[in-house]
Amino acid sequence: MSSKPNLQHVNTKRDAPQARPALSAWRDWLGVAPFLLFAVLFILLPSLSLFAGSFQDSKGNFTLQNFVDLMDPSILGAYWVTIRISLVTALGGGLLGFMMAYGVTVGGLPRWVRSALSTFSGVASNFAGVPLAFAFITTLGRTGMITVLLKYIGLDLYDKGFSLYSFWGLSLTYMYFQFPLMVLTITPALDGLRREWREAAENLGATPAEYWLKVALPILTPSILGTMILLFGNAFGAYATALSLTGGFINLITILIGSQIKGDVLHNVGLGYALAFGMVVVMAVMMTIYYFLRRRSERWLKQ
């Protein structure tokens, strides 16, 4: 027992003869100091400031009133719409993206389709905000190309109750950057499905359906859920697309925060901070789940 610490001591000495351990540890930390300083200034400080602000009234006194005020139906409604649109586009975009990624990985599509898909996904997942909104207005707006074409063959979308400037119109627009992101993140997971798993399942008597239900999908589940959470966050924080499309008409949390920054529309600064803080809480919960899911799938897929 006593020989062990001794041994370690000798080892440390041999590894770093030029500096005492304490000093070198201190110097090692210096290497990441600029990064940490930046993080404290531009990530931690703003977050803490919003956090602190949400516990203050307009005179700077401590209060929990702001969180009580969050229960206001219009604010809860905004949260609810934002969450719903994030869920819908994460599910819809996730499904379409998964099907496309499936096609190029295990679905038997030729290789060139795969490389074309990866390029286009890279572009489309980064194509968002103002120009995306314009593109959808010229396509599905009241006088958009598809709207007019469909009217020509006898289907009047807007008569049937569709509007681009509504919940579903915005969802359709968000999905433009959602499904390519799904393609990009789920393709590696599908690639991780090893041929031997399929063969082993078949060899043990499983049908293709049983293989998918009992082996492939369970293995993919953490990755699929994890990616959907990424998509959720992607839509949850979106502001530019929604603002350009609906001109602030739709009641999203991000739009509400935007108006609050411009001119205290809530007539309560603290409530604005609480609103923002609430968004961070929702996202933090989501990212925590994401973290655990990713850890699980990494553990399964390693080697």
Binding site: F35, M99, A128, A135, G258
Partner: protein, 268 residues
């Protein structure tokens, strides 16, 4: 079995077609619309008007410059840090990675809200000056760029076994500048370029943060303004902006050729 295969491919093609239509229809519609600025004929008039607009060039140059400065700043922040934690502080990896993921937790609108609250007042007063405001903009963008910059650079470092390379260089008598500039950085070129172009693609058309900090000086807010007033010019801008994104992504793919698909992620 052969029949099952054929049916599988049918559905694969079907979903691929749905996705491709989804992707292409808005672009086609926008492009056709952008050609109709002149009544009765197709023309590039809308594009001409945009390219003759001094504000277009001003805002574009501004955002491009901000993009380049952001890349520089984030490289200076990320590369040495990623290198150092691989070499000396591997136990800090989790924490640093956590920090770089923060933009996924803090939406851009919340980030800019917090930044304004902290830095517009005492003791910083950054938003009162031209330099201060732009510095804040760059800082905000550097935060947004952290996830892809870090992931890209860290993956690049992971591919080259930094520790052995550094030790090999040291044993051959190299000093720190030689190690960094002649051994490590050249091996990171692809990773750095991918991260840089992804940053550029996000920053140039960025609207949320730019609109609150600098207003229509930046390209994103400029596009938004055009959209409210001039529909044909707006669609030509959409096409231009799309081509820009395509160009950046194409460049990334070009650098990454022979490697895996590259790690792309968006935050809107």
């Amino acid at each position: 079995m052969v029949e099952a295969m054929r049916r599988n491919t049918f559905w694969s093609w079907f979903w691929m077609a749905v996705g491709v239509l989804y992707f292409i229809l808005p672009l086609v519609a926008t492009f056709i619309f952008s050609l109709r600025a002149k009544k009765g004929v197709l023309s590039f008039l809308a594009y001409e008007r945009i390219f003759q607009d001094a504000n277009f060039w001003e805002t574009f140059t501004f955002s491009l410059t901000v993009g380049f400065v952001t890349i520089l700043v984030s490289l200076v922040l990320v590369v040495p840090t990623a290198y150092w934690i691989r070499l000396r502080l591997p136990h800090l990896r989790g924490m640093i990675e956590f920090v770089t993921m923060m933009p996924f937790v803090i939406p851009a609108i919340v980030l800019v809200f917090g930044l304004i609250r902290v830095f517009s007042g005492a003791p910083f007063f950054l938003t009162n000056t031209f330099v201060g405001t732009n510095a804040l903009l760059v800082a905000a963008y550097a935060v947004l760029a952290l996830p892809y910059m870090f992931r890209s650079v860290d993956a690049g470092l992971g591919a080259i076994d930094v520790r052995s390379l550094t030790e090999a260089a040291q044993s051959l008598g190299a000093g720190w500048p030689t190690i960094l500039f002649r051994v490590i950085f050249p091996n990171l070129r692809v990773a750095i370029l991918s991260g840089a172009f992804l940053t550029l693609a996000t920053v140039i058309g960025e609207f949320t943060i730019a609109s609150f900090l600098v207003g229509i000086k930046a390209f994103g807010p400029y596009m938004s303004l055009i959209g409210q007033n001039k529909t044909y010019e707006a669609s030509s801008l959409t096409i231009i902006s799309f081509l820009l994104t395509w160009a950046f992504m194409g460049l990334i793919q070009l650098f990454n050729r022979g490697k895996s698909d590259g790690t792309l992620a968006g935050a809107h």
